[in-house]
Symmetry: D2
Subunit: 473 residues, 4 copies
């Protein structure tokens, strides 16, 4: 028996509806609902009917969408607990178990008959599609429907842990967003001081690598020797998805304070030979796991190459956010094997003479050492070497993947580890995460594919000869 | 065992790849392939490898997309047979049967354990996702990637009949397009004489209801007492998806020749009380079954209400494209029951006196009767009555759905059958399809939901009292 | 003898050029000049040749404009003294005295012969056109040429005082700008939080009535119950020319602190019945005397009426910037006639009891009285009455024009004096200029023309009945 | 006595007004006037009052502009005779003769006193400004005010001949338009198949060099190996002012039929080395004498050089519109000196043998000779030589200016005469004007200034060595 999909969907939903009481048909598009913030059981019942009306497309799809928008507005007015109950209720509109069972049997029965199998597979996939997927899509009728769903996912990810139902709902939402945010739909925009204030305000809020101190600092980062590019979705035109900040300089920059100094003279971008990507930020938590960072970098490289034909290096200036935590862990196992004998000696002498706390461990725990030139000089060689080892050789347990998350991002994009920079970020955060070191990942256009293949295939990390030297010690 | 989705996908593809010989890894992004138009077997083998390289994301996703774009360009250079072979090859990258089997077993084993069931359902859905879905998405990297996929589906629908593999591929593509063409992403644009010539050219090509005779005719349809609205997708900015042509008039218009007459005086739209939707066209065959006509009509009603607060009627002037074919079929069964005795008498007399061919059947077969005022007057009452019956009461076999496709569209949008217009379209097409009749469907804002519910629930058709009168005879 | 204008212009310039030495013809378009900042005489000589090359259109008009642009860039690099010398040199390219003399004689000779007179007038006008007018126009070739000329005029106005040559140059420039900034060319734009940051930055810099405290304050002034409109010129797209800030409220607002309070709740603009224009600013000094304030107000009234049909009052909340200076002057002549006897008595008692400084004069000199509720209450009636008199009756010596500049602006636009507001602006500036008072000018659409005519014809000031009451005391 | 300009203007106008009867003050902004199409004297009287009300700024400048707009609408409804009367009436609001007389005397009195002279000159210029200038400006308040004035000038130029008053009005309008249409305000736009249909429609209407046959022909001229650029004014955004059509080809094109052939294959613009400017059209008669053709050409050269770095030649393919008329005139004086003896002989023989009409004169009168290969071949050398002489050596009587208008345009832009092309335009128009010849003017960037200077200074025409060869015969 063939049956139109729409009708069977309604049938399934009606089946589910038996679980609840009478289904009122009075809901009108655009109407105002009003639930208590915590969604007590009575409200839950009314909400159920509303959701059902959306799923059944009561009054036609246009009305159903209007009704879904009303539900979305309601969601926004709820408390945290109310929202959790709302989402669990919604997640209850899952696949019809009986129908899935039937389709499974049909697939088993199909055996080796190709035609029968293909058709059974299709039927099974349809049966497995949860009705709530339709409701999620309908929320797109909200004035900022796409942003609503992105933010919904951000909340859902927090709530879903350990809750199989919400996990399934979250997975569905991720798949929906992944389709909608296909990189082919994104628009690369240059952000300048001419951009709308409401967009700039968000750039300031979302910058997490090197916090922006205010409108003056932002304006400095948009000066003629800087570039800031972001991806946007056509239906979230004022919400950057991901953005990268670039400095156009001569030679590969090694110190972020100099780059961000508002009093530094403005360079002539037409004379620059190097583009430094000094900050990349994902702006939407709700798009976690839907990746477009590599597309952004490559589009920006293209764009810059076109505008400035003299550019010959494209490199990052990046933190090593996991370096100090890793070193602390290693040191807990003992300093042996981390320092060369001579280094160990010098360090011991220094600590005696200068009141330093006697060990690498003590120094690393103490954020102040960078201010003592002699200690800093003594630590330079061993920490740089250890950083090289950390970035290029340490892997996540059981995987070929680099332990450092920033390293993993750039290496899987096909970059190579080019240079380590000593005392390159001595901010509190820079000391706490990276012990003041920063790293340049270099994007060499003719190496990118090979580097990517080696790294993603065998975990092999591409490094410059300098870094290779450090790794041999 | 947990395993990253990406890796397992590659594993599956590699499994499939065993079917073929050595997989060269040399494919580079953006490279030029070159296959013979008919894709002989040798080319097929190279093509297989190319597709595999895309699916494996060789050289990273950016490169994989560039490679997919090269494949897409290649597809366009192929002959019809070459394209069929291309698509069948692609459709071969379907779900891994063994994995589907395993997941099916896991679901059966889950039994009543909710948690286990949810997780098994998720795994099964993933297993059922065909790898070619990824390749389809990658085609979005083509400069006009979305349009490419829309056109691809149009072709695929033709080829897929009776071919289960291609049918599955076509279904996947439809689902992808349905997600991308969610109505929330579409932009309503008014088309005017200020619109780009390249868009107007397409409007002319896509108008199928009342063909546009040239740029002059088009300009007339864009005059100040006319409106033309279209939906666009942000990634197909020069391709109307669906469009509607509206005349702003006084009173409900009943004759399309008068509406389209380029010599008619231009009305004052601010004095109009009625908006006549006289032509609605789906412009993209590749979006068949992904419906936004009802959204278009309701958006346009909103838009017009805002611009012209005096408008009080929103009605169509539509053909009855299946009326004559239906009547011919009925007449083949005999004229009895179609004509009243008096009508039958008059007709017989007329034919005797005037040389007409003696029966309703003969007249209906003859396109010329409209030119004979006496015959036309004689036919007026019976044909109008039969048209009312056809539109309001005839259903598709075994369904609640109106037999006439245009009627079904407007009725399921919540319109009502308002008025039948005699000799309203005497063009060759109008006579051949609708025996010269046209119909007004009326969109009354406060009835739309109820009408829709009645029609979609029980098949009940809303009609005006005039039409009700005709149905009682 | 008739002669083409272009040729004769060159001839005249060549005549002038005899004053200087050899005229080098080597100047190339776009070349870099380089003068010492103070323009010593040697540089002056080279500059003369450059200007001459522009005036002669050497190498064609395209090249001449490029050369003028180089001159403009040079001007910008000069010191104040250098710029003065530059402009005086330029002003030397005035009309050819001999030619003017000849044309004058021709006009005298024409006598009553209409034809001869018209032709002589035309010839005389042409003779009176200074060649430097052409050079001014050529500066338009600079990338921001219009802004350059606007700023040039701002500088020139300062230098021209007492210098007849520079005065003539300044007058020419004003006429040029008046033609270019014809109100028909200006674009009304609404400024919102979506506007480019570079424009918002200028709004902050140019607001002189109620200074904007920072980006937060600005955002508050752009909230949904506020409006900010500006006029722009198509060739200065990022430079507001004049802007007005509007609050949408219920009832005519009387206190600017409440209006600007960032913590006040946001009103619903759709429920507002009154638009309060609380700040109007001319942003370009170089456009002084080229007036579009009245056009701005009337355009904004139209715009707001369209968007918010419920608005029924359009009023300002304005300072009386000359009130205190005027009162101080009056008090210097003696308090008699300013206070009623009873008021004088109360004030004397108060000052005795409270340590106030014994007289209205002393109080007015003392910015602090507003903090003493009893004194403030005592001053309320007399100061309000005197303010009414000041605004409605005091005129510039020998003219029908209101003494207060803000009053003159609104009265000549056709507004009426509606209401005086006590302690409405107690900022330092508000006390110093307006003794804390603010005034509402009301724009009643059906009175505007009559009010304008009365005021501009006879100096009669339209007032409300409240104000009329105050004037009778 | 100093007096505000505005007041004195009103005083002057009031003086003029004495000529007419009572001046009604009731005119309101935006009101509807209604004059008979021919403007009989009664209407003239009412019109006079309306104009006066505008000039006096009755009810404020905003109202005055609205009133002027009403006048403008009225003008458009008048007959040709009505318009002439309207304009003559308007031209009557000229300078106040008495005031001009006084200012003239003041200037004579100033003598050698620089300060007095400058101030007297300024006063005289002000006195000479006609009040109607203000009215012209006020028409800018019409919705398409700038276009109105441009078209007004086109009409005025026709009427003004022999009418000193209208000539003065026309001169004033030209000066106003010259200020408004300063080249710095114009926008260069590329016209493509994506341009608004309403703009393309005008391009088709305005193309006068090689008429466009329809939308298909136009589309062909906008193909990927073609460019069409136009200047626009920001207040006439849908009205091209001047436009140029360019073909991107290999080698300097010599035949316009090949260039315009819609069946010719589309070239690859990236491989082109030559840009051929094959048609330049002024689109607005009302801007005659306000020249921006040279700016257009140079901007387009810049634009093309940027987009296609391989381009090395920029040349026109132009007609010689005055060649045949000139030759006919010369032949009327006798053939001697035009043909070489050998040429004369061959021609005579040919005519005997072939029935040709015996002389160059007869052939030139006969449009058909191009179809006879032998005659055509015989004429090739002498006509080409005579064309070279015509273009490079024939001057307007008593001037250094080339006789051919197209030649004059390109030569004064700095181009050189590069090549003559035989049978390059054999259309009826091409034969009638240019005897089938076309010419390439070459713009060599490093010669432009020198060529311009030589030509505009001494009338010397730059030619290629080929042309020089032809001139030596």
């Amino acid at each position: 028996m063939t049956q139109a999909v729409g009708t069977s969907l309604i049938a399934r939903i009606k089946g589910l509806a038996k679980l609840w009481l009478d289904v009122a048909g009075s809901a009108k598009g655009g109407e105002t609902l009003s639930f208590a913030p915590d969604l007590p059981d009575d409200d839950l019942e009314r909400l159920r009917k509303q959701m059902l009306a959306c799923l059944e497309g009561k009054g036609g799809e246009v009305s159903a969408r209007a009704r879904a928008a009303a539900l979305g507005r309601e969601y926004l007015s709820l408390s945290a607990e109310g929202r959790r109950r709302f989402l669990r209720l919604m997640a209850g509109f899952g696949p019809d178990t009986a129908r899935v069972g039937g389709a499974t049997q049909a697939l088993l029965a199909a055996g080796d008959d190709d035609q029968a199998r293909l058709s059974a597979e299709a039927a099974l996939r349809t049966a497995l599609e949860p009705p709530y997927a339709r409701l999620l899509t309908q929320f797109n009728a909200l004035p900022e429907g796409v942003k609503f769903l992105v933010d919904l996912r951000a909340e859902l990810m927090g709530m879903a842990k350990g809750d199989a139902r919400l996990t399934a709902l979250a997975k569905e939402l991720k798949d929906l967003l992944a389709a909608w945010f296909d990189v082919g739909f994104l628009e690369l925009q240059r952000i300048t001081w001419r951009s709308p204030a409401c967009v700039l305000e968000k750039i300031m809020a979302y910058e997490a690598v090197h916090a922006i101190q205010g409108w003056g600092d932002l304006k400095n980062r948009l000066d003629s020797d800087r570039r800031l590019y972001a991806f946007f979705h056509p239906r979230m035109p004022e919400e950057p998805l991901i953005f990268v900040e670039v400095a156009l300089v001569r030679g590969i920059a090694g110190n972020v304070h100099e780059l961000l100094d508002p009093h530094a003279p403005v360079g002539n971008p037409d004379e620059a030979d190097t583009a430094i990507f000094y900050s990349i930020n994902n702006a939407q938590r709700g798009l976690d796991g839907i990746s477009f960072g590599n597309f952004l970098i490559k589009k920006v490289v293209e764009e810059l190459s076109r505008e400035f034909p003299r550019l010959k290096n494209f490199a990052t200036l990046s933190p090593l956010p996991g370096f100090r935590p890793w070193l602390v862990e290693k040191l807990a196992e003992g300093e042996a094997g981390l320092l060369l004998p001579a280094e160990h000696r010098t360090l011991t002498q220094l600590s005696n003479g200068q009141g330093a706390k006697g060990s690498l461990k003590a120094l690393v725990d103490d954020g102040d050492w960078a201010n003592d030139p002699m200690i800093a000089e003594t630590l330079r060689a061993p920490l740089t070497r250890l950083a090289a080892r950390y970035v290029a050789q340490e892997k996540r347990t059981g995987q070929g993947r680099a332990l450092d998350p920033v390293a993993h991002f750039h290496l899987s994009n096909g970059a190579r580890v080019e240079r380590l920079n000593w005392l390159a970020d001595t901010s509190a955060k820079g000391m706490k995460q990276s012990l003041g070191l920063m790293i340049n990942y270099l994007y060499k256009l003719d190496e990118i594919e090979t580097n990517h293949e080696s790294y993603s295939g065998t975990g092999k990390v591409a490094v410059s000869s300098d870094i290779r030297g450090l790794l041999k010690v």
